[in-house]
Symmetry: C2
């Protein structure tokens, strides 16, 4: 069995965002994010637990489960590739509920589960895994290009493997814009039954 | 890039254990485990958060982090291979703080991070990943074979990739001995920087 040794990568925070109103899906740029064990205070996706939705069709809608999706992490390069694939000028992180824009990691969205992001200021975010693009985000993107039709579904297709990661707060604190971070990718292998 | 499609596997609970006294590392067989969002009630490894130790040398010892290690899951086949490698009669799950004995999954310890265990009774455990054998567990095993020397280090070596998994409670409830479960292994790939 092939084993890939752990990897350390250097990256930088180039944008921070949070939902200002809990009933709004879109996020707004902020100079710093304050993170607790429950995620971003006041953010729509905060909380120790969350309610399930369409992503978890095996649960009745609204089932309370532990929240492994406290923060949404995006990469400028991946967003640019989505925009290119949809033939639009840009995809703003705010439109799809992004919380952190992380620059400097190739194929950011493909970082494996259990990767850890150690921020210079002391916060640690543990990666649950890649975020599967949904039509809800697609509609949010589409609303910014009212002259184009079908962008909701185009986003779902174009954003596959590019829609960033979700994760949870392992160690609370404050992350500031421009902050450096180290990504630690754990040992990797392929499990075969 | 090679992508391995998600896999579903059938398994069964053949043992349940918890620490009876929070200051004891060893677990005791119980007919059922009651799991909350904080893990096993009263168990040494329960809690929404935990204090770091030797596994996390990058943190000052005792740092409070989110608890991704609420439960320890072991496989009878993997334990038998450890025992064989150490030339001892058996390794009991209780000795190394195991909480669930899961039968029927080949190479159980190598199940990837983000795998989900859906128990027939409604509990879901999300896998953080494999548990790295430590000398602390090795000493616990060694104490059961007082006539043999060096078993603490022998365990650390023999238990690599066989010491089971750690995970956390996604959906609370009760797990009973003999209960069936389905393991859902997510899509897999190798990330290369």
């Amino acid at each position: 069995m092939q084993r890939i040794a752990p990897i350390k990568l250097a990256a930088r925070v180039t944008g921070l965002f949070q939902t200002v109103h809990p009933d709004s899906f879109e996020t707004t740029a902020v100079p710093a994010l304050t993170l607790g064990f429950g995620g971003i205070g006041g953010d729509r996706h905060g909380g120790f637990t969350r309610r399930t939705g369409g992503r978890e069709p095996w649960y009745p809608r609204g089932t309370e489960i532990r929240n492994e999706r406290q923060v949404s992490l995006l990469s400028p390069a991946d967003l640019a590739r989505i925009a290119s694939g949809m033939d639009v000028a840009e995809i703003r992180p705010e439109w799809i509920g992004g919380n952190l824009l992380i620059e400097g990691i190739a194929d950011f969205t493909l970082l494996p589960a259990r990767s850890c992001l150690f921020f210079a200021g002391g916060v640690t975010i543990r990666i649950d895994g890649l975020n599967v693009p949904c039509r809800f985000s697609g509609r949010a993107v589409a609303s910014h290009y009212p002259d184009r039709e079908g962008l909701d579904l185009a986003f779902v297709k174009a954003a596959k493997d590019l829609r960033g990661l979700v994760g949870w707060v392992e160690k609370p604190g404050v992350i500031a814009e421009g902050e450096a971070l180290e990504v630690r990718v754990p040992e990797q292998w392929i499990y075969r039954a």
